[in-house]
Symmetry: C2
Subunit: 418 residues, 2 copies
Amino acid sequence: MSLAAVFEATAQRAREASRALARASTGQKNRALEVMAARLQSARPALKTANQDDLAAAQARGLEPALVDRLRLDDAALDRMIEGLLQISALPDPVGSIRDLAYHPSGIQVGRMRVPLGVVGIIYESRPNVTVDAAALCFKAGNACVLRGGSEANASNRALALLLGEALEATGLPAAAITLIETTDRAMVDHMVAAEGLLDVLIPRGGKGLIERISKAARIPVLKHLDGNCHLYIDAGADHAMAEALVMNSKTHRYGVCNALETLLIHEAEADTLLPRLAALLAAKDVVLRGCPKTCARVPEAEGATEADWYEEYLGPLLAVRVVPSLDEAMAHIARYGSAHTDVIVTQDYARAQRFLAEVDSASVMVNASTRFADGFEFGLGAEIGISTDKLHARGPVGLEGLTTEKYIVYGSGQVRA
Amino acid sequence: MSLAAVFEATAQRAREASRALARASTGQKNRALEVMAARLQSARPALKTANQDDLAAAQARGLEPALVDRLRLDDAALDRMIEGLLQISALPDPVGSIRDLAYHPSGIQVGRMRVPLGVVGIIYESRPNVTVDAAALCFKAGNACVLRGGSEANASNRALALLLGEALEATGLPAAAITLIETTDRAMVDHMVAAEGLLDVLIPRGGKGLIERISKAARIPVLKHLDGNCHLYIDAGADHAMAEALVMNSKTHRYGVCNALETLLIHEAEADTLLPRLAALLAAKDVVLRGCPKTCARVPEAEGATEADWYEEYLGPLLAVRVVPSLDEAMAHIARYGSAHTDVIVTQDYARAQRFLAEVDSASVMVNASTRFADGFEFGLGAEIGISTDKLHARGPVGLEGLTTEKYIVYGSGQVRA
């Protein structure tokens, strides 16, 4: 059988399973998630053995230690997966909720019912925990999933997927609802990105390279974000202590995350007093500043920023800094250079806060809060499958609701159209 | 300047205009729509003159009379456009509404604000009324639009777009918010479908050929539907008078529309009595039946259906008919052959009504109502830009809400992430 035929048969089984899942009750889904957690708990030794195979192969191939670390399934990683399964089990089920059900002049009642998307494809890199985390979210939202992990985690992913499938069958659901593509043939990804009618949406999880590659090739919808070039604008009259706390938390809480601060914009009315103070605080954390000429005039140790710096997502201890003459200039900078991920204004002014919220066209727009809050848990979604910077469907942190869609339902009593 | 550069400059002007539109108040947008209506009213003679050029050219080129008719801007067509502008002006503005604003454990308040998509590309065929109808809907939702009409309606579209632009400027808004691409060079469509970062979404309006072509080539999201292969299933125990009325309205109210009935499924318990009666009613309207063997056994004048008939969207006086042994078989038929547009169950049974609503995976799923109700006006959207059978973003009739997106907003008071 050709690889294309293997993929199609696999995806068809997942689609059939998705129909059983769409009918499954909330109780049945929650029980399955609890059984998954229990099986992960009791299978710790077997999972670690499988993981050892991946780790040994990675080390033999001379993989970087940081990448080997990402592969590791230790007790802490297993604890987080088990905890995640139980958390997702406890989340409200979005499927079947109906909104805006109302009578219309014809006499029909029209509403919108939330339903699963169908089959979700997940393409991810080395971390084997994605196998469990992503499958559990798709499953709770009533979707089957087709998982394609990195070849370096193949033994771990197989062991995890086997457990999940057993848990599904133990609760009367088809194992194919969580399908791992076991072949490490890269051509399988080509079939996934072109799977019109087989997969309803693709979610790539991993580095920017992977996500760009998938998005470029995709013939089916992709939920993704590429860049998190997040801005914080300190407005004229902002509270300095608040501004300092927000800059430090946004920039230095964690460097390698998509909601970390990358460009600081500051109104020139505050620059003389606040910029040197911020520079000292950041220098104490070894953060290097790349500034506009007005920044460099006030902070001698700052490096000069080039045009490329305004576009950059550093993901490290670097911060671009620009002094701006007005809110309008700050918003124009964000519109031009930003990645529409997360942008913050620090202000005490009511009208400018409202303008920033209304006019900045990003997935998360904040007043007086750290960029680091752009996160599914912090936003109350319970868990997230990722963050979308696309405008259609789901935007910002994507949780269970983003893994569903709505259909119109009509309750009639024999009405015909006049 | 190359065509690509012309397109890019045009789209950039539309994007700049979209930012002004996103800031425009509801009152300002409504006034602009009223000025558009008034200008259309007073420009009737000029519009008809421009339209005469298109009609004359079409007749000279030997275009089919039906196609020439679609081009015609007579008083009735102008009345409908003017009425449409005033209706859209009266619709509630979706932009700026905030839902689910709530405090979270960190102390931040998180909500979701509805905002425009940005710039919408519309590619359409001969009907010049689309220029006004689509532009008005995009505009009320706060979007700029880039319109590409059919070359055969070029003079009419230019005259209409000029009026709309003048109305925008008269109300202090940029004329580029409604941009008509005037060149009839077909390569312009190639630039539109690949306009990543320039257009946020494409909406093709026209025949299936156009929509397939655009979807295949598109590198940006497309809101569309291809087929309306709508089903009506008559359940065991259904009310016969209701079933007859619904079948007749769904099939014969209008033939050429996407929400017309194309396949009738009937439970075998009702087939003996109801099928001959339905066949007589349909024959009186010259509707030809293509049936399964069980149908042909009960309706001798029915033609035998082939496998292709179950997939077919006839858009004419033809109806495929299949006798099924159960609700499950009816739903399996719809899942296999349907186009996920609109499907109806006629039933008096509570449990089977609920199962059909929950399990049939189509944009509109109905109990005891005509398929013809799948329509933006009938569903209370006020007006529609089209119907989507895709699962992501907007599904079913797409009105103002489908032309917007949501972003997360955060009101903080200095919170940092722990």
